[in-house]
Every structure is written in structure tokens, then in C-alpha cells.
């Protein structure tokens, strides 16, 4: 199972994904999600590095290739950390917003502006990572809740589930109003088109 004729194999890549999830603390949240993907990742994570072997690698000693590769991997991660060091994982925002996003999706509402507090006109705009992860968690865990709100929807009907899963996907895509998009809209609302705003930015000295 762990003998591959090319490297890194998909299982190794998945293992690295789990390592990243653990490093960013996402795994602590995801491991409790009741879905078979988690079990798969757990199984993959349990494979030892030494269990991976190479074959059909020509005249080169596969043991040396493996050793070299495993030496290089941490260096690659180090470089990646340098590039992406300032980026947040989105975990904290996800913890705060996920229940609210699920609540919107459960009722067939696009979760682009989430009411912060009852009685106040203050809204939170979820970032992309918390939005996508919340939406996907809703899809794998809570689609039944949505279907239970819909007259005639059959929880066990695969076509019905597929149809409403697509709607969840569309509602999530509808939220994709990242700052640059929203800014474009504001530009338009202000009477300036996107093209005009873009040209102005380019013309600004030092841009």
C-alpha cells in the first residue's frame, strides 16, 4: 500500500496536509467532525515515514532519494512559513462565526452579512477561509437540517441532497464579496467604474 513508483505519493501529501492542519490548530476542531474524511486523514496520519518505499526509480538508490527528500521537506516548509508567515489561519474567526454561518445556511439565507448582536444593526462579513470551511462543514454535517425546513425534501433522496448541496454551494459563492469586489462595487456606487478606479491606482506614484 505504501510502495509507490513516484514521489511524493498522494498519501504522503495528505499526511503533510494533516501536519499543516495540526500546526495551525485546525485539526483540534476538525477531528471531531463526524465525517469519513476525518477517519481517512487519521489513517493516513498513522503511516510512518519509513513505511513509504520507492520502486521503479531507475538506477538511483531509492533509500538515498527518500533520505534526500525527507531532508528537503522541512526546508520547503521553512521557506513557505517565511512567505506566508503574516497570514492568519482563520481559525479564531471560524470558531466565532461558524455557528452563525450554519444558522444562515440552515434557513436558506446567504451568509454574507451576519448579524452581530440582536437589536443592533451591526453585521460581520466573514473572511473567505472561515466562510468556506463553515459552509463545507455544514454540507457534510448539517444538510439534513436544511432539508428538514423544506417542504417535500427527502433527506434520503440522493438527487434531492445533491440539488440542495448545490444551492448551499451557490449561497456560499454568492458571499464571495472579498474586499476588492466590495470596493469595486463601492466605486460603482460612488459613480466610478472599476476600470476607472484601477487606472487611478496605477497612475498613483509609487503604486
Amino acid at each position: 500500500m505504501t510502495d509507490f513508483d513516484e514521489y511524493p505519493p498522494h498519501l504522503f501529501r495528505l499526511q503533510e496536509q494533516v501536519a499543516i492542519l495540526k500546526k495551525d490548530k485546525w485539526w483540534d476542531e476538525l477531528k471531531n467532525v463526524d465525517v469519513h474524511y476525518v477517519q481517512l486523514l487519521e489513517r493516513v496520519d498513522s503511516i510512518k515515514e519509513t513505511d513509504f518505499t520507492l520502486s521503479n526509480f531507475g538506477p538511483i538508490d531509492p533509500t538515498k532519494v527518500m533520505a534526500a527528500f525527507l531532508t528537503v521537506v522541512p526546508l520547503i516548509f521553512s521557506e513557505l512559513d517565511t512567505v506566508t508567515g503574516g497570514l492568519g489561519s482563520g481559525l479564531n474567526e471560524w470558531k466565532i462565526l461558524c455557528p452563525n454561518i450554519e444558522s444562515y445556511l440552515e434557513r436558506g439565507i446567504v451568509p454574507s452579512n451576519l448579524l452581530e448582536k440582536r437589536g443592533e444593526l451591526k453585521f460581520q462579513v466573514p473572511s473567505l477561509v472561515p466562510l468556506l470551511n463553515s459552509s463545507y462543514k455544514f454540507y457534510v454535517q448539517c444538510l439534513d437540517k436544511l432539508l428538514n425546513h423544506i417542504d417535500g425534501a427527502e433527506v434520503r433522496d440522493i438527487r434531492c441532497r445533491s440539488e440542495w448541496a448545490m444551492k448551499v454551494q451557490m449561497w456560499t459563492a454568492k458571499c464571495d464579496r472579498r474586499p476588492q469586489h466590495t470596493e469595486n462595487e463601492r466605486n460603482w456606487v460612488d459613480g466610478r467604474s472599476f476600470e476607472t478606479g484601477h487606472q487611478r491606482a496605477e497612475e498613483t506614484p509609487g503604486y
Binding site: 444593526l121 469595486n184 460603482w188 472599476f194 476600470e195
Partner: protein
């Protein structure tokens, strides 16, 4: 049946979605879209352009009519769409709306738009519990082409209190969730639409038509070509 004021609307917007009387209009970029008795709505980025059928008529009872007679178009924000004189197109509002069980709505053409002889809605009534982007039947009834910019204010939503006493246990799937303009789904009274035909966008067989052809005379990205290759 009373028209909701700006204060009434905002009181509803302040309720969490878990409460039955909650009202959602999203995204709201600017609170100035609220007039004293209406909310301005903007034009979305997706369109269904009616195609000239091979036969000299449209038969509403013919299977597949709705999905085959429209060209799907996506005009991104910042681009524009030219609606020729005396032509029609289906569009949608940029805003996604969720009405509570005791509120009906009506969408009206903005007077500034109407004075260009453009009509955006011929079936303006919105039932309680509706949630989705509103499909607009846009018609240019003037003698000149009109340029449509996604994001432009095009209509106004008037909300009316109804006397419905309580929220029904379940929602009708027909009214939940469209984010694109919807083609007509003509069927016999009482007949449920087959699942695969409920949303034209879900059956995207020709996704390439999400964007206008580069040579289309309707597309702002084809400036200078005059629609010719």
C-alpha cells in the same frame, strides 16, 4: 396591509435569523439605500438572454423550452451590458432577500430608470417567506439601446405587513434559494417540477456562455470590434 417604514424594516433586520420575523437584505453596502418606505435594489451580474427560436413561436408547453431558449451571460462588475431597443433580458437583483412569514413585497422600477423607458419587473409580487435574488424581467421599451451596469440601482422594494398569524412548519422549495435569474418553468397546475429543471444554472451544459462572446456587440470587453471578428 401596511407599508413598512424604514424603522420597521430596520427593526426586522436587527432580529437574528433564528427568529421568525427576521428580515434579510444582503449585501447592504450603504445604509442610504433605505428610503422612508422602500429599499433600493441593484442589478446583479447574471443575465438570461432570450434566444430567437428556430420556429417562429415559443410553445410554453413544449418540454425543455425554458432551458433551451436563453443564453446565459455573466457581466462582471465594472463591465456593462447593452440592451438594444425593444429587447428583453432576464436579470436578477444583486441583493439576496429573505422575507419573514408576515411580510409580502413588491419590486418597482426606479423612477429614474422608468423614465428611460425601461421596465424591470412585470411580476412584481413577492410572497412571504421568499428567499433569494429576485428575477427581473427587464424590457427596453424605448427606441434606443440602453447600457446596463451591474451594481446600478435599478429597482425599489416595498414591503407590506400581512395578517398571517404564524410561520408555517416548512418552506416551499420553489421559493428558496435562487441567486441567478430564473427561466420560466411552465407546467400544469399542481405539477411539481422535475428536480433537474428547477434551476437552469444547475444544468449548465454550456458554461462558456457565462461570459459574453468576445465578439458580441453587447459586451463592453469587445469595444472597438463592433461585434465583428
Amino acid at each position: 396591509m401596511a407599508v413598512l417604514s424604514k424603522q420597521d424594516i430596520n427593526e426586522r433586520r436587527k432580529l437574528p435569523v433564528t427568529e421568525a420575523k427576521n428580515l434579510v437584505i444582503t449585501p447592504i453596502l450603504d445604509e442610504e439605500v433605505f428610503d422612508e418606505d422602500s429599499v433600493d435594489l441593484r442589478l446583479g451580474t447574471y443575465f438570461l438572454l432570450p434566444q430567437i427560436p428556430p420556429q417562429p413561436f415559443v410553445d410554453p408547453t413544449s418540454p425543455g423550452t425554458s432551458s433551451q431558449s436563453y443564453l446565459r451571460l455573466h457581466t462582471p462588475l465594472g463591465a456593462y451590458f447593452v440592451l438594444p431597443a425593444h429587447q428583453t433580458v432576464l436579470g436578477a437583483t444583486l441583493e439576496y432577500i429573505k422575507l419573514p412569514f408576515d411580510i409580502s413585497g413588491q419590486i418597482l422600477t426606479k423612477s429614474s430608470v422608468a423614465r428611460m423607458f425601461m421596465v424591470i419587473e412585470t411580476a412584481p409580487w413577492i410572497h412571504p417567506l421568499y428567499r433569494g435574488c429576485l428575477t427581473l424581467e427587464i424590457a427596453n421599451v424605448s427606441n434606443t439601446a440602453i447600457v446596463l451596469y451591474p451594481g446600478m440601482t435599478i429597482g425599489q422594494l416595498v414591503l407590506l405587513q400581512t395578517s398571517v398569524a404564524e410561520e408555517p412548519a416548512k418552506l416551499s422549495g420553489t421559493y428558496v434559494g435562487p441567486v441567478y435569474p430564473e427561466a420560466p418553468m411552465l407546467r400544469e397546475p399542481g405539477e411539481r417540477p422535475p428536480p433537474q429543471k428547477r434551476n437552469l444554472w444547475l444544468n449548465a451544459r454550456t458554461e462558456k456562455t457565462f461570459r459574453l462572446p468576445r465578439t458580441s456587440p453587447y459586451c463592453s470587453e469587445c469595444k472597438g470590434t463592433g461585434g465583428r471578428t
